[in-house]
Structure formats: structure tokens, C-alpha cells
């Protein structure tokens, strides 16, 4: 529930006549930053580490891949290291690593004298019970409601992905934790701006993520919504000054056909 959005909605209906338009703003350039996105899951590999660089606002959304980096992922619980291979520009893949709940994964990257490291612990898997769709609480859209049972014991954190017709991903960041609803049956609506019609396939993926990744997504959500008191970059769990995250997480998917 984002209260700032609700206030804006109310302001807009108060004035009956709010107006949006595209404007031209001259934004400064910035030197390209490394962006690392890495996921290790409890589904069978290979897993991918994607390394790209940021671009300036007025450039096209083409993010150059970083080639010839050295990338390792170590399963610190088993003490085995997988050296990833670059399969396409900026995309590095594992060979034999297999994600297991409870194991700690360590990422090591070097590129042009830059060193980036991170580690992430894969939490215990929580399954999705079911999903359903309902008319949206706000506006005229459709909400998707996943239902899962949070295990007893505070400390579970979730990241949820919503995908419609196997291709359209919701841009909102859905995260839950069990601080207020430990051990409950959770059924929080995923509000979205996708036009969902009956007959469309609806896929929900429930990820159990570790605390640092949860913090990353919390910040990312605020960054994307662009209304926090101090707009800033999400706090990455990768050291060395890169943007992005490295997450070892579980994955449980379920699909239905929208009514």
C-alpha cells in the first residue's frame, strides 16, 4: 500500500482536471557504471550473471554488455567454485552449479582492474497455494492475488514476479515480509497496470530471498516509484561500487487462466 500514490490519486480527483504531459528536461551525463544482475535459484541451472553498463538518460535503452570479465560463483557450503563462461555479450553462465536452500553462494567478478564481490544465502522454499484474479481496488484494472502460507518464525522475505501471457511482466516491485503476519495465510493483491483480459495466462513466481536482497528490492521499489524523500540508488549487496544485486533464492511458479 503506497500512501503517496493514494494522495496523488486523491489530489487528482480533487482538482477534476489534472494534466500530464511529456516535457523536455536537460539532464547531465554520468560516467558509465557497472550493473550486475545475478540469480542462483533452486531450479536446475545454468544460472546467469549479467554484466552491463549504465547509459545517459537521452540515449537509447541499449545497455552495453561488459565482455571478458572473470566471473566465479562459489557454493561456500560445499566449497565448490564454478567459473562462468560468457555466452553472449555481458551474459555469463554456470556449468555445473546447482542451487540448494541453506547454502551460501559467493560471487566474484573482475573486469578492467575492478573487483566486485557479493554473497547471498538461499532461504528455505515456501510454496504457492493458489492464485486468483479480482477486480482492482483502485481504478478499473485487475488484481492478481497469490495465496501462500508463511512458515512460523519471523524472518521470511518474499519477492513476487507477475507475468501475463508469458511475455508482459509487471513493472511494480512486489515484496512481502512476515514481520506483521508471521505464520499467516497471506493473500495480498498484486496491483498492476497491465490490461488483463479473461483467457489470458497469469503466472506468479514466489521467490524466497535473503535479507540483503529484500533490502535491495525495498529500495528499488522506492527508486522506481520516484516519490521518496531522497531519491537515490538502491543499496546493492555487491561490493566494489556496482549497481544491481546478486540473489540466491528459491522459486515456485503457478499459472492460471484469468476469469
Amino acid at each position: 500500500m503506497n500512501i503517496n500514490k493514494i494522495f496523488l490519486y486523491l489530489l487528482v480527483i480533487t482538482t477534476f482536471s489534472s494534466c500530464q504531459k511529456v516535457i523536455k528536461i536537460n539532464l547531465n551525463g554520468s560516467s558509465p557504471k557497472f550493473v550486475i544482475i545475478g540469480n542462483v535459484t533452486d531450479e536446475p541451472g545454468p544460472y546467469t550473471i549479467k554484466i552491463t553498463k549504465s547509459v545517459n538518460f537521452d540515449q537509447d535503452n541499449v545497455f552495453p554488455g561488459v565482455d571478458n570479465a572473470v566471473v566465479y560463483i562459489t557454493d561456500q557450503t560445499l566449497n565448490i567454485t564454478d567459473t562462468l563462461s560468457e555466452i553472449s555479450s555481458g551474459n555469463y553462465q554456470t556449468h555445473f552449479l546447482s542451487g540448494v536452500s541453506g547454502h551460501t553462494y559467493h560471487l566474484y567478478i573482475t573486469s578492467d582492474n575492478n573487483v566486485f564481490t557479493s554473497s547471498s544465502i538461499m532461504p528455505t522454499r515456501v510454496p504457492l497455494d493458489s492464485i486468483y484474479t479480482q477486480k482492482s481496488l483502485f481504478g478499473s484494472g485487475t488484481d492478481v492475488v497469490p495465496i501462500y502460507k508463511d512458515p512460523v518464525g519471523v524472518g521470511n522475505q518474499y519477492h513476487i514476479i507477475l507475468k501475463i501471457k508469458d511475455s508482459i511482466s509487471s513493472v511494480a516491485v512486489y515484496i512481502h515480509d512476515d514481520a506483521l503476519q508471521d505464520g499467516n495465510l497471506v493473500s495480498e493483491a498484486l496491483m498492476n497496470s497491465i490490461d488483463i483480459h479473461s483467457g489470458d495466462s497469469v503466472m506468479v513466481e514466489l521467490q524466497c530471498i535473503d535479507e540483503n536482497v529484500f533490502q535491495y528490492y525495498t529500495d528499488l521499489s522506492a527508486t522506481i516509484q520516484q516519490n521518496s524523500a531522497a531519491p537515490s540508488n538502491p543499496q546493492s549487496n555487491i561490493t566494489g561500487g556496482a549497481l544491481g544485486y546478486f540473489s540466491a533464492h528459491t522459486s515456485y511458479r503457478k499459472s492460471i487462466i484469468a476469469q
Binding site: 500500500m1 500512501i3 503517496n4 493514494i6 494522495f7 486523491l10 489530489l11 487528482v12 480527483i13 480533487t14 482538482t15 477534476f16 482536471s17 489534472s18 494534466c19 500530464q20 504531459k21 511529456v22 516535457i23 523536455k24 528536461i25 539532464l27 547531465n28 554520468s30 558509465p32 557504471k33 550493473v35 553498463k53 549504465s54 547509459v55 545517459n56 538518460f57 535503452n61 545497455f63 481496488l137 483502485f138 478499473s140 492475488v145 511482466s169 513493472v171 514481520a179 506483521l180 503476519q181 493473500s187 493483491a189 525495498t218 529500495d219 528499488l220 527508486t223 522506481i224 516519490n227 521518496s228 524523500a229 531522497a230 531519491p231 537515490s232 538502491p234 543499496q235 549497481l243 544485486y245
Partner: protein, 763 residues
């Protein structure tokens, strides 16, 4: 120290007698604030205080007493002064000014003769003719057109004074603090102009009786109510209506005033095509009430209160309501003709409550800030050239950050109690005809108290290293700050003067926001072991000049202000979550300086003013922008307001205002990157960009309808934002919906034109 200063003057006094009394409006019985009482033979004079009381001491003799107030017929009384005299005078409104608009209620050349600087006074009657938004007159909107005062923008409730934040303004309604001065997310202020007598704004160099905020004091006085006869007035507008009743309790002895407002903006929502908009609730109401009664010639009591509430609801699934409640009990007592006392017991309360009923959650959270305040003020009129004020003030603050109930109820966030005290003394002294001083000292203290709340110790990365608890009511830490205040006026000639002032202010309560815009859910936090008292030292210098028998006035004031323990947010700060806010904040220093120019025409068929401010406000906080100085969000280079009212005929008055100001300093991205197939913006620097400049023209016209005996009425038309410029409420960045390869900036403006019409009556 102060008594040493004055003892010679007291000792040298010959056989003197004191004339004192109350100056009122004859028709309404309202006391007049700032009316002048003078003795021409002695070339001395004084002005009435906020209760209409004056006191003048002179040698025995026969004199002519002249009593004056702008817009009223001068009253002359011949007196022979052989003993102390009480002379209460009721002035008759009228004279040539009746057909004119008067802006200032103060005595005509008060700006030249008074040593107070950085001060503006507004008489509510004066703003009647100005254009309005949604048909409601609003004193807060007018104040934002004065030099050095800046609007926070459309849809934002706050205002900024001399570079200070919105929480650095002390807003008082009959002495009670109003924590959130806005209704309906900033479109209306909580001050119903029917109930307001007068507003005085001090821009950082306030007298020593005020304290607790860094940047300004806005002192608003409610009307007392007519003690002569019963009257009703009101207005009907497109989205709001008002009714005001007043009259005597006992004629000449006591009166009452009740003023109420209700908006019905949601009536229009029922016409919407969208079913969820139809189910939206959106309204506010407020109520002002005041009673006063003269118990004896020496004692008068006042009871005044305000209650207001805003309600917003989305189809029963989400609701929020918020509001202020204040109450003031005052007792004026005259110990002797020279010693005036006011004792006040004051209550202030601000709360918001959020209800959620969806997705299996049925819960609510309540947040409250509540004050109990006791205040004693004494004013000793030593001689016509010397008056001493002294007193004390003790406030108990109770902050309830979040109290949860319902089926999802996390543990409550513990209450925070604190105790704020101050003693002060201040003297207005006029050693020569040309020179006057206000010298004051305020000693303020703030004690944070133990209780259920946690006190944290943080490491250098703002992580909690340990948590302490203290017994209920135990003083955990006390902060003491001496706040010297000094201002002087040198009158160059009859129509011009220069003034200089220095003042230190301390602030112990701070407002945090989770958004770049202001919301009712912004959070008040108390000073504690980590959040230190904010301090400001302000120096100012000004030149004041009047022309043509005070019809025109011009002034130039400049200020330089340094601030300590200023608060800003850490990157990714979340202040509304249950995370202790201490871990989300950074502290540093600030500086603000500027030049304020004002030219004003106070009388005649045409009245109005032009005000311009050139200013800079910066912060330096370790952890933000590589520890360099950066612009505060409210930094505004240019700020221009032009206000004009013209009396066309006996029936028609037209008015217009224009504002232009530099956009806020804001944080925009300087790049972009991709996360999980989505474009995310990359930020490099806090507040390094500017919103586009804001500008707006408003037009208004008032048509006076035919009078029927006592019944008078008028129709007001206004057009807010006349040329339809879309000023940004927010600017966001997004992927171009038409070209997935591009990104774009999108501006949301709240409105283009807002026409309104309202009907006002009085009998």
C-alpha cells in the same frame, strides 16, 4: 541585567499618572490590535496590545488624547490628569476609507517607527477582494505573496520562510500551536477567514515571548465576537459553505463567536463515470468558537477553540482522516494600570488515522501529537518610552507515532514524552525620538523523558549498537539554549528609517516526510540523544521609507542566517516504516541569505503590492553529495509576487495577482540502467536539478449586491491560474510508451484553470 538598565529611568520619574484602557470597534465591540493612543502636547504615544489594551504614563496636566486606527474616525478626548485614569474608547469605522481597501491594520507609519523587523501584519478585511481558489478566502495564501515567504507549491500545505523548512514555522491560533495548517492536501488552510481577526508574521527575528521554531512565527488571532448585537454571516460556494454567528452574552461584557465550514467536493465525484471515483469520500469541516467575558474592570477571560477534520475514503477499502484540535483558556488581569498580565492554558492536538480494509486485512493506525501548555506573560508599561515584557512557558508534548488496531496489529510504536520550558524577558526602549530598541533574552530548555520508547546508540554507519530504556517520566537528557534577541531602529526622518536585528532561535520538534511532497502523514519527531535541537542565528538589516503621507511604502531587507543540526535523509530513507527514524537521518549545517524588496500602496481606490526576493539556501551534511554544500529543496533564487485591487465603482471591485518563482531544487536522474528487464534511473547528486519555474495569474471580481436594511451581500468571481499554465506538481521519468527504446520525463500538473463563484452575506 535588564533591571540595571532601567532603574535610573524609574528613579528619575516625577509624579506621574497612568492612563490605560481598551480600544474597541463601536459597532462590533471587537478589540482593536495596534490602535494608537497619543498625547500631542507631550509628543508621546503607544499602541494597543493583542487584547486592545494600552497604558501611558505622563506627568499631571491637561492633555488631548488622540486615538487612531486605520479605517476609523479619529477620536479626541480632553483629559485632566490628576490621578490614574481608565479611558476605554470605542472607535467608529468610517470616514473616507469606507469605500477603500486597506491592507495594513497597523498605525500608518508603524513600519518606520517600530523597531521590530522582518514582520508583516495582515488585516483579514483587507484580503476580501483578492482572487481565491475554489471560492475560499485564505490568509495563508496571501501570506505566501509577501517577501521572504514562499509557497510550497500547488497541492502542498507548507510554506517556507527565509529558506527554512515547512516545519520551521510556528503557527499559532490564539496561542495554540497548529501542527498541520492545511485542509484537503493543501488546497485550503485551516484558518476560516470569518473567524480570524488578524495575522502577524515574524520572519526569524521575533520578540522573546515566541520560540520553538527556527524560521518564523505566524501569530493568528481569532475574532472575539460582537458584544453589541447579534449577527450572522456566511457564504455559499461551489464546493464549500460557511456560516458565522456572533453576538453578546451580556452586552458590553461578553460575547461569543461560532464559525463553521464544510466542503462537499465529493458531491461532484458522484457524477463521475468511474464507479470507484463515485465511491470516493473527500471532504473536510471545521469549527471555530470563542467566548469572552469581562468579570470585572480588571479581569477578562477568553475561551477559544478550533476543531477540524479531513476525511478521505476510497470505497470503504482505504480511508484516512486527520485534523487539528486546539483550545485556549486565557485570563487577562490588570494588576495596576501599568502591569498587564495574561495567563493561558493551551491544548493542541493533531492526529491522523489510516484504515485499511482489503485483502483480508482490516486494520487501522493512529498517530497523534498532543501538547499541554501553560503560559504566563506580563507586560509592565514603565514609561511611554519603555515597556518590559516577561514571562514563562511550559509545554508537555506527547507524541504517539503509531497505535495499531485490527486483525493485523503489530506492536504499537511507543509514545515519546517531552517537556519544553522557557523563561524570557524583553524590553521595548526608546532612548531618543529617533532611536528605539527591542532587547530580549529567552532561555529555552527541552527535556526528553523516559517511558516505553527506546533510546538508541548508533555506530558511524547509523546502525543500532544498543538500545536503552529509562523509567517513566525520568529526564533522560535536557538541552538548554539561551536565545538572545535584539533589534534596533534608527529613524532617519519622519518617513524613513533603518533597522538592524539579530536573533537566535532553537527548535526541538522536527517534521519528517516520506515523500518529496507534503502529506498529512508527515511525522513529528522529538529531539533526543541523537536528533539534536536545531539552532539558527539570523542577522538582518533593512531600510524602510514611506511616501505621500504613508500612502506608499517601500522597504529593502536583507538577512543572513546560519543553522546548526539541520536534518536531511539518508539515501533510501524510509521514515514511515517501523524502522527507528534515527537510523534514517543525517545531520549537518545550513546557511541562508537573501534580499527582500517590497513596494506597497496602502490606501486609495487602487491598493496592492509588489514583492521580490532574491535568496539562497544551502545545507552541508556529511554523507550527502560528498560532504559538499548543496541547495536545500526550498532554495529559490527568484520569487516575485504582484498583487493589485481596484475599486471600480461602489458595486464592483476587481483584483489580480501574479506569482513567479524559481522551481525547487530537486533530484533527477543522470543516467539509466537495466534491472530484471526494466529500466531503472541512476542518480548521482542530491537536489542538483531545478523544477521548471512556477508562474500563475489569478483574477477576481466582487459585486456588492443591493443592501436591504441590515442585510448586505456580495458575489465573488475568481479565476485561478487565468492563462492556464501547467505548473508541475511532480515530474517523473519513464520508458516511452510509444518507443521502448527511449525514456521520457512526464510532468503532472494539478490544474489548468479553476473558476469559482461564491455568494457571501451578512446581517
Amino acid at each position: 541585567m535588564i533591571s540595571l538598565f532601567y532603574s535610573p529611568i524609574i528613579c528619575l520619574g516625577q509624579v506621574k499618572h497612568t492612563i490605560s484602557g481598551i480600544i474597541k470597534d463601536k459597532k462590533t465591540g471587537e478589540t482593536l490590535i495596534g490602535a494608537t493612543v497619543r498625547i500631542d502636547e507631550k509628543k508621546i504615544g503607544t499602541a494597543t496590545n493583542e487584547y486592545g489594551f494600552y497604558s501611558l504614563s505622563v506627568d499631571s496636566g491637561s492633555y488631548t488624547l488622540g486615538i487612531n486606527y486605520i479605517g476609523y474616525v479619529e477620536e479626541l478626548r480632553t483629559i485632566s490628569l490628576l490621578k490614574d485614569l481608565t479611558i476605554n474608547v470605542s472607535l467608529v469605522a468610517g470616514g473616507k476609507q469606507l469605500t477603500e481597501v486597506t491592507i495594513s491594520s497597523k498605525k500608518k507609519d508603524d513600519n518606520i517607527t517600530n523597531s521590530q523587523m522582518g514582520m508583516n501584519t495582515l488585516d483579514i478585511k483587507a484580503i476580501n477582494a483578492l482572487p481565491v481558489l475554489f471560492g475560499e478566502k485564505d490568509v495563508l495564501k496571501i501570506v505566501q505573496m509577501l517577501p521572504g515567504v514562499k509557497s510550497a507549491g500547488d497541492g502542498n500545505s507548507g510554506f517556507f520562510v527565509r529558506g527554512g523548512g515547512a516545519d520551521q514555522n510556528l503557527i499559532l491560533l490564539d496561542e495554540a500551536v497548529v501542527y498541520n495548517p492545511s485542509h484537503l492536501l493543501g488546497f485550503f488552510s485551516v484558518f476560516n477567514s470569518d473567524a480570524i481577526k488578524n495575522l502577524t508574521l515574524y520572519k526569524g527575528n521575533e520578540p522573546a515571548q515566541f520560540g520553538g521554531r527556527l524560521s518564523s512565527v505566524m501569530d493568528i488571532k481569532m475574532n472575539d465576537g460582537n458584544d453589541q448585537s447579534y449577527h450572522a454571516s456566511g457564504g455559499i460556494g461551489l464546493i464549500s459553505s460557511r456560516l458565522n454567528l456572533e453576538g453578546p452574552i451580556v452586552k458590553d461584557k461578553g460575547s461569543f463567536l461560532i464559525s463553521a465550514r464544510r466542503t462537499y467536493a465529493d458531491a461532484f465525484l458522484a457524477l463521475s463515470n468511474d464507479p470507484s471515483t463515485r465511491k470516493t469520500q473527500l471532504y473536510f469541516y471545521d469549527l471555530n468558537a470563542k467566548f469572552n467575558y469581562k468579570i470585572s474592570d480588571k479581569d477578562r477571560i477568553y475561551l477559544s477553540g478550533y476543531y477540524g477534520k479531513d476525511v478521505l475514503g476510497l470505497g470503504g477499502k482505504f480511508g484516512i482522516n486527520w485534523g487539528n484540535a486546539t483550545g485556549t483558556f486565557r485570563w487577562n488581569h490588570l494588576f495596576n494600570p501599568k502591569l498587564f498580565s495574561n495567563t493561558s492554558l493551551i491544548y493542541s492536538n493533531y492526529h491522523y488515522n489510516i484504515d485499511i480494509n482489503s485483502g483480508g486485512i482490516d486494520a487501522s493506525v493512529l498517530s497523534v501529537i498532543r501538547d499541554w501548555n501553560f503560559k504566563e506573560e506580563l507586560k509592565y508599561y514603565i514609561s511611554p518610552t519603555n515597556a518590559l515584557s516577561f514571562g514563562f512557558n511550559s509545554v508537555y508534548h506527547i507524541i504517539t507515532p503509531g497505535q495499531f488496531s485490527g486483525n493485523v496489529a503489530p506492536p504499537d510504536v511507543a509514545k515519546v514524552n517531552s517537556w519544553e520550558n522557557a523563561i524570557y524577558a524583553s524590553d521595548s526602549w526608546k532612548p531618543t525620538d529617533k532611536l528605539s530598541f527591542d532587547i530580549g533574552i529567552r532561555l529555552s530548555s527541552f527535556s526528553v523523558l523516559g517511558g516505553a520508547n527506546n533510546y538508541y546508540n548508533l555506530d558511524e554507519n547509523h546502525n543500532i549498537i544498543d538500545t536503552n530504556h529509562y523509567a517513566n517520566g525520568k529526564i533522560v537528557e535536557t538541552f538548554i539554549n539561551p536565545e538572545p534577541r535584539l533589534s534596533g531602529n534608527y529613524q532617519l526622518n519622519k518617513s524613513s528609517s533603518i533597522k538592524a536585528a539579530y536573533g537566535r532561535n532553537a527548535q526541538y520538534l522536527h517534521l519528517l516526510s516520506n515523500s518529496t511532497t507534503s502529506n498529512p502523514t508527515d511525522k513529528w519527531v522529538s529531539t533526543n540523544n541523537i536528533i539534536k535541537p536545531e539552532l539558527a542565528d539570523q542577522f538582518s538589516l533593512g531600510y524602510f521609507r514611506n511616501f505621500k503621507d504613508n500612502t506608499y511604502e517601500v522597504s529593502a531587507e536583507s538577512y543572513y542566517k546560519t543553522m546548526q543540526n539541520e536534518v536531511d535523509y539518508k539515501d533510501n530513507a524510509q521514515v514511515l516504516s517501523n524502522t527507528p527514524v534515527e537510523t534514517q537521518l543525517l545531520f549537518g549545517q545550513g546557511r541562508a541569505y537573501g534580499l527582500e524588496l517590497l513596494a506597497r500602496k496602502n490606501e486609495g481606490r487602487f491598493t496592492g503590492w509588489v514583492s521580490y526576493t532574491l535568496s539562497k539556501t544551502q545545507l552541508q551534511i556529511n554523507g550527502i553529495n560528498n560532504n559538499n554544500w548543496y541547495n536545500a529543496r526550498q532554495d529559490r533564487t527568484h520569487d516575485l509576487s504582484v498583487v493589485g485591487m481596484y475599486k471600480l465603482s461602489k458595486k464592483w471591485t476587481v483584483s489580480a495577482d501574479f506569482v513567479y518563482y524559481t522551481g525547487n531544487a530537486v533530484t533527477y536522474p543522470s543516467g539509466k540502467y537495466q534491472v530484471d528487464n526494466q529500466v531503472v534511473f541512476y542518480y548521482t547528486e542530491r537536489n542538483a536539478y531545478r523544477e521548471p519555474a512556477y508562474h500563475r495569474l489569478d483574477l477576481g471580481a466582487t459585486l456588492k449586491l443591493k443592501d436591504h436594511k441590515r442585510f448586505t451581500s456580495e458575489v465573488s468571481f475568481s479565476l485561478y491560474n487565468a492563462y492556464g499554465h501547467e505548473n508541475p506538481y511532480s515530474i517523473t521519468f519513464q520508458e516511452d510508451p510509444n518507443d521502448a527504446n527511449k525514456t521520457q520525463a512526464v510532468q503532472t500538473a494539478l490544474f489548468k484553470w479553476v473558476p469559482s463563484i461564491s455568494y457571501n452575506f451578512k446581517f
